[in-house]
C-alpha cells in the first residue's frame, strides 16, 4: 500500500540568558527548588514584567538563522489557562504578531539535502515544574525556578517525510542553536523539547490519498525517542487505517486538498460524517509505544489578548542588519563550502560541520598546512574525533594544534611511513604536544632516507630470495611483493614504499634471466 508520512515538529528551546525573560531572577538549571524566584515570576499582585532585551536579541538571531522574515513590529499576548505551574494562570507568549515567520532550514537527511519550512519562531515564558507523588497519593510539589525563563518556540511546516528526517532536523536545530550560543539544547535537562505531529497519506483507489487523523506526540525527551515514536506511530496509523477504512472510516466526496503534489482527503467518521479531531499521544519509552489519549471534543480556548503590561517591540532595521552580520557562516553553508573548496564528500562535510565551527576551523588549518584536505579530513574524522570522544576533552584543550597535525600529514607523505607508524607518532604528539619529527625520533622511528643504503638492503633481499626472483623473471610479476615484504621487514616499515618499489624493479632488471639453475 502506497503511503507518505507527514510530520511537523514543534520545538521548544530554552535560551542561554543570564536572567529570566521578564524579571531579574537567574536562569539556571539545577538550583534548589524555588530559590530563583521573585515577586514578578511568582505572579504576586501588582508586579509587572519588563522584557529582557538579551532574550529578544537571541530569539531574533535564532529566527534569522532559520531564514525567517522579521517584521518590524511585534507584540506580547497572554495565553490564558489554569495550571498550578503557571502562577499568573496565563503565559506571556506571542499570538498573531510573532517576532518572525516564514523561514526554512536545510537538512542533510537520508533522502538527501532537504529544505524544511518553518512557520514561525516566537518567544514566550516557560512554566514551572510539578513533581507528583509516585503513588498519586501525596501532594504534588511546585518548583517555580523555571517559571518565566525564556523559551523559543520553533514550529515547522509539515514538510518532514520520515522519522529519520525528523531526527536530522532536530540535530540541525541543535547544531545551529549551539553554534550561535542561543541554547545548549540538552534534551535531558529540558532545554530542548519536542512535540511531533504526524499523520499518514494513504493511496486510495481513485488516485487520491486519504489522510489519517493527526496525532500530536508529547513527552519526547531524546532524539532517539522522536525517531522511534514517529516510526511506531506511523505504523500504528497505517494499521488502524487498514482496519477501519471502508468501515468506521471513509473519505468524503468533494474537494480534495493538494499537498506536496498529492490530492488529499481527510478520513471522516462514517457514522457521523464528521472529520476525526486531532488527538494527543504520549510516548512510553519503556514499552516503545505511543499511547493515544482520548481526543478532546472541543479545542482548548486560550482567550488570547494583547498583554497590556508590556509595550510592543519595534525592531530597528539597522539593528536587524547588525544581528544578521553577527551570525557568521551557518552549518548548511559550511557543508556546501567544505565540499566545494576542499573536494570533501557530503558525508565528510556533514561530519565535520556537525562538530561545530571550532572543528571546521581546525580542519581548515590542518588541510592548509598539510596541503591535502582529504588526508586532513581522514585524520580528523577517523582519529581526532575518536580521541575527543574518548577523552571527553574539548578541541581547545588538545595539545595537538592543527598546524602540527598538518605537519604530521606532510611528514608521512615525505617519509612514506605507513598508517600504523603514523598513528604511533600521532599518539605521541597528542600526549606530549610535540611536532611529528620529534615524536618519530622519540619513538625510535628512523626513516631510511639514503638511497644507496636502501639499494644495499634491496640487493641483499634479492640475494636471499632466489625463488621469488626466478618466479619474477618467469613472468610472475606478483612475486616481487614477497621481496618487497622482506625489505619492509628489514627496514621496520621506515622506508618510503615508492622508493623501495623503484629500487627493487631497477635491481631486478639487473639480475640476468639465465641465472636459473
Amino acid at each position: 500500500m502506497k503511503h507518505h508520512l507527514v510530520i511537523g515538529l514543534e520545538v521548544h528551546v530554552q535560551l542561554l540568558t543570564r536572567t529570566k525573560l521578564f524579571c531579574g531572577c537567574r536562569n539556571q538549571f539545577g538550583l534548589p527548588p524555588n530559590s530563583a524566584t521573585c515577586p514578578v515570576c511568582l505572579g504576586l499582585p501588582g508586579v509587572l514584567p519588563v522584557m529582557n532585551r538579551r532574550a529578544f536579541e537571541l530569539a531574533v538571531k535564532a529566527a534569522l538563522a532559520l531564514n525567517c522574515e522579521i517584521p518590524l513590529f511585534t507584540k506580547w499576548d497572554r495565553k490564558n489557562y489554569y495550571y498550578p505551574d503557571l502562577p499568573k494562570n496565563y503565559q506571556i507568549s506571542q499570538y498573531d504578531l510573532p517576532l518572525s515567520r516564514n523561514g526554512w532550514l536545510d537538512v542533510e537527511s537520508p533522502a538527501g539535502n532537504r529544505r524544511i519550512g518553518i512557520i514561525r519562531v516566537h518567544l514566550e515564558e516557560d512554566a514551572g515544574k510539578l513533581t507528583h507523588d509516585e503513588q498519586g497519593k501525596g501532594d504534588s510539589l511546585v518548583d517555580l525556578n523555571r517559571t518565566g525563563t525564556p523559551l523559543l518556540e520553533i514550529v515547522s511546516r509539515p514538510d518532514i517525510v520520515a522519522p529519520e528526517e525528523a531526527k536530522a532536523y532536530l540535530e540541525e536545530i541543535r547544531l545551529l542553536m549551539r553554534e550561535l550560543e542561543i541554547s545548549d539544547c540538552e534534551m535531558q535537562e529540558g532545554s530542548l523539547r519536542c512535540d511531533a505531529n504526524i499523520n499518514v497519506h494513504v493511496a486510495v483507489p481513485d488516485g487520491c490519498f486519504a489522510a489519517t487523523p493527526i496525532v500530536e506526540i508529547k513527552n519526547l525527551n531524546s532524539f532517539r525517542a522522536v525517531e522511534r515514536a514517529l516510526k511506531y506511530e506511523a505504523s500504528r496509523q497505517i494499521a488502524e487505517f487498514e482496519k477501519k477504512f471502508g468501515k468506521e472510516w471513509q473519505i468524503r466526496e468533494g474537494q480534495p486538498r493538494e499537498f506536496a503534489g498529492r490530492l488529499v482527503c481527510p478520513v471522516m467518521d462514517a457514522e457521523r460524517g464528521q472529520p476525526i479531531p486531532k488527538a494527543t499521544a504520549g510516548w512510553n519509552e519503556d514499552r516503545g509505544v505511543t499511547v493515544v489519549q482520548r481526543s478532546k471534543e472541543e479545542a482548548e480556548d486560550y482567550r488570547y489578548l494583547p498583554d497590556p503590561d508590556l509595550v510592543p517591540v519595534v525592531v530597528d532595521p539597522a539593528w536587524l542588519d547588525e544581528m544578521r552580520s553577527q551570525l557568521g557562516e551557518l552549518p548548511a553553508a559550511q557543508r556546501r563550502r567544505l565540499q566545494a573548496d576542499y573536494a570533501l564528500t557530503a558525508y565528510e562535510a556533514g561530519v565535520l560541520t556537525a562538530q561545530g565551527r571550532a572543528l571546521v576551523a581546525y580542519f581548515e588549518e590542518t588541510a592548509q598546512t598539510a596541503g591535502d584536505p582529504k588526508e586532513a579530513s581522514n585524520w580528523i574524522i577517523n582519529d581526532l574525533l575518536q580521541v575527543l570522544n574518548e577523552s571527553k576533552r574539548s578541541l581547545a584543550d588538545l595539545p595537538l594544534k592543527p598546524r602540527s597535525l598538518g605537519g604530521l600529514i606532510r611528514y608521512l607523505k615525505q617519509t612514506g611511513l605507513n598508517k600504523q607508524r603514523g598513528r604511533d607518532i600521532f599518539a605521541r604528539m597528542l600526549e606530549k604536544g610535540i611536532e611529528a619529527e620529534q615524536a618519530a625520533g622519540e619513538l625510535g622511528i628512523q626513516v631510511v632516507g639514503d638511497e644507496s643504503e636502501l639499494a644495499e638492503i634491496v640487493r641483499r633481499a634479492i640475494a636471499a630470495n632466489p625463488k621469488a626472483v626466478a618466479d619474477y623473471k618467469n613472468g610472475k610479476k606478483k612475486a616481487a611483493d614477497a621481496i618487497k615484504g622482506a625489505i619492509m621487514r628489514e627496514t621496520k616499515g621506515m622506508a618510503r614504499i615508492e622508493v623501495v618499489q623503484r629500487l627493487l624493479l631497477e635491481e631486478l632488471e639487473k639480475v640476468p634471466s639465465d641465472e636459473k639453475a
Partner: protein, 510 residues
C-alpha cells in the same frame, strides 16, 4: 441643608496646633513642618484624632495603624532637627487606597480572596511618597478590586458620603475621597480605571485627578484593567492635588508602560493667568440621563470660564456614547486575565474543603470573590472566547481607537474639555446594587478618558438643593496635566465651592 456649612479658614499664620489645622491646605502644612513651626507629630496626632472622631460613622479606612503613623511622623521631626532634607511632602499624612501595595502591610483590594496577603514590596508610588517624606496614613476602603462606582462592593463594609450618610461616596476610590472630604486626612491616593478617582471626588466635593496613562508607575498597583488603570491624587484643593501629583509622576523602569519624559513643575505656574483659553463643550454630554441640577451647575461653570475671558467652543465627540460599552468589554477582558492568578494555589485565600485541584480553585474563587467581580470575570471571559472575540473584544479595541481619535481632533481646537463628571449626584446606598447597568452608566462621562489615556480632573462646581456636591470634569490632551491644573486653579480662584465642608458633631464643639 443641615449638613453643610461655610467654614472660614483661619489665617494659617495665627495659630499652630488647634482645630483649625484641618482647614489648612496641605501645601501650607508642609511649609510649616519644613520651617519647624509645626511638628509632623502634631499634624499626625490631629488627623488621627479626626479619624477617631469621624471614621466610626464614615468608615473610610479599612486599616490604620496609629503607632506606625506616629512613628513615621516622629522620624520626620527627627530628621528635620538633625538638619537632613525632608522632602516636599514631609510630615503630610497620605491615605492609600487598598489596591496599592505597601511592603509589609496587608493589601486586600477590599476582597476576601486577598485577605491576609502581605506584599513584600512597595508600589512605585509608595517608594516615591516615602522618599518625599509623606506619612503613610492607613489603607482606604474601595469597591472590591476597584470594580464599582459606589464602594458598596467592598467585601468588608460600606463607606458613606460625608455630605449625606444615606448616600454612597462614589467609587471605587470611595474610601480615599470620603477620608479627604471628612477632614480625616489632607491627601489620599486613588486609582482610576474608568472614573474611580473623579466620580467619588465629585460626589464627595474634593479634587481628584487621573493623570495621563503612563505618567505614574503602576508597579505595585494590583491590576484591574492594566491598559486603563492609573494612580492619582485626591486632595481638598487644586494646589494640593498638584503637589501630590508632582511626587507621584515620573518614570519607573519596573513599569514598561510608564513614560520616560522630563519632569515638569506642576505647582510653579499654577497661579499664572492664561493669555488665551479655549474650553471645549461636547454636545454629546448634555443628553438624556443628565440630572437637571448637575446640568445647571455645569452650565454655570462654563459661564464662570466665559466671565474670565475664555473662548467656549461647541464640539462633538461622536464616539463617546459608546464609551461605556467599549469600557465594559476592554476592562472586563483584561480583568478576567488579571484576576486569574487568585486561585488559592500560591497565596491569598484557599478554600478549606475541596475534593481535587479543580475543585480547590473553583471553591477558593467562588468563596473569595464578590458578585460584581464574578460578573466582570464572566463578562470578560465571554468577550475573549473563541467565536465572540472578534465581535466583542476586537470590535471594542477598534472603537477605542475612534474614541481616542475624537479627543485628538477635539484638542486641536481647545485646551480643555469641560463637562459633568457623573450624570447624577451621589445616589442612595442600595439604590443601584440590583441594577448593574444603571451602576455602569454612572461612569458614562469618565470612561472615555481612560480609554483614550488622557488626563482628567474633577473639582467642586456646585451643590444640589439637597446639599450634595457636584463635580466639574476637565479633560486635557495627553501629558497636558499642567494646563489641566492651571485651568482648574483658575476656576477654583473664581469660586468658593471648594471651601464648603460637611458638618460633623465634633466640629461644633471647640
Amino acid at each position: 441643608m443641615a449638613e453643610q456649612q461655610f467654614s472660614d479658614p483661619r489665617n494659617p499664620n495665627s495659630s499652630s496646633s488647634d482645630e483649625s489645622l484641618g482647614e489648612w491646605p496641605a501645601s501650607v502644612l508642609a511649609e510649616h513642618i519644613r520651617d519647624g513651626r509645626l511638628k509632623a507629630e502634631e499634624v499626625a496626632e490631629y488627623f488621627l484624632s479626626k479619624v477617631r472622631q469621624r471614621d466610626a460613622s464614615i468608615r473610610a479606612f479599612l486599616r490604620i495603624d496609629e503607632e506606625a503613623v506616629l512613628r513615621q511622623a516622629r522620624q520626620i521631626d527627627l530628621r528635620r532637627q538633625q538638619g537632613e532634607p525632608i522632602g516636599p511632602l514631609a510630615g503630610l499624612p497620605v491615605a492609600v487606597k487598598d489596591n496599592i501595595c505597601v511592603g509589609g502591610e496587608q493589601t486586600t483590594c477590599a476582597s476576601r480572596i486577598l485577605e491576609g496577603f502581605v506584599p513584600p514590596y512597595d508600589a512605585g508610588v509608595i517608594t516615591r511618597l516615602k522618599d518625599a517624606g509623606a506619612v503613610l496614613f492607613g489603607k482606604t476602603n474601595m469597591d472590591e478590586f476597584a470594580m464599582g462606582s459606589s464602594t458598596e462592593n467592598s467585601a468588608y463594609f460600606k463607606t458613606v458620603n460625608p455630605w449625606d450618610r444615606r448616600c454612597i461616596p462614589g467609587g471605587s476610590s470611595g474610601g480615599s475621597a470620603a477620608a479627604v472630604a471628612s477632614g480625616q486626612v489632607p491627601l489620599a491616593l486613588g486609582t482610576d480605571t474608568g472614573g474611580s478617582i473623579r466620580q467619588p471626588a465629585s460626589h464627595c466635593g474634593v479634587v481628584g485627578m487621573k493623570p495621563t496613562y503612563g505618567r505614574v508607575s503602576r508597579y505595585g498597583l494590583v491590576a484591574f484593567a492594566s491598559s486603563l488603570d492609573q494612580i492619582g491624587p485626591i486632595a481638598r484643593n487644586v494646589r494640593d492635588c498638584a503637589l501630590l501629583l508632582q511626587v507621584l509622576a515620573g518614570h519607573d523602569e519596573r513599569d514598561s508602560t510608564s513614560i520616560d519624559r522630563p519632569a515638569e513643575d506642576f505647582c510653579d505656574r499654577l497661579e499664572e493667568p492664561f493669555e488665551s483659553l479655549t474650553i471645549g463643550v461636547p454636545r454629546e454630554y448634555f443628553a438624556e440621563g443628565l440630572d437637571a441640577e448637575v446640568e445647571q451647575a455645569i452650565r454655570e461653570a462654563i459661564a464662570v470660564f466665559k466671565d474670565q475671558g475664555a473662548q467656549v467652543k461647541d464640539l462633538s465627540l461622536p464616539h463617546s456614547p459608546y464609551g461605556v460599552a467599549v469600557y465594559y468589554l476592554v476592562a472586563t477582558a483584561e480583568a478576567s486575565s488579571n484576576l486569574a492568578r487568585y486561585d488559592g494555589v500560591h497565596y491569598g485565600r484557599r478554600a478549606e474543603q475541596y475534593e481535587d485541584l479543580i475543585d480547590m480553585v473553583c471553591q477558593s474563587r467562588g468563596q473569595g470573590f464578590g458578585a460584581e467581580v464574578k460578573r466582570r470575570i464572566m463578562l470578560g471571559t465571554y468577550a475573549l472566547s473563541a467565536g465572540y472575540r472578534d465581535a466583542y473584544y476586537l470590535k471594542a479595541m477598534q472603537v477605542r481607537r475612534r474614541i481616542r481619535d475624537d479627543f485628538c481632533r477635539a484638542f486641536s481646537e481647545c485646551d480643555v474639555i469641560v463637562g459633568p463628571v457623573a450624570p447624577t449626584p451621589a445616589f442612595l446606598i442600595g439604590e443601584k446594587v440590583d441594577d448593574p447597568l444603571a451602576m455602569y452608566l454612572s461612569d458614562i462621562y469618565t470612561n472615555p478618558a481612560n480609554l483614550a489615556g488622557i488626563p482628567a480632573l474633577s473639582l467642586p462646581c456646585g451643590f444640589t438643593t439637597a446639599g450634595l456636591p457636584i463635580g466639574l470634569h476637565l479633560q486635557a490632551a495627553p501629558f497636558a496635566e499642567e494646563t489641566l491644573l492651571r485651568v482648574a486653579r483658575a476656576f477654583e480662584r473664581a469660586t468658593t465651592w471648594h471651601e464648603r465642608r460637611p458638618s460633623f458633631p465634633d466640629a461644633t464643639e471647640s
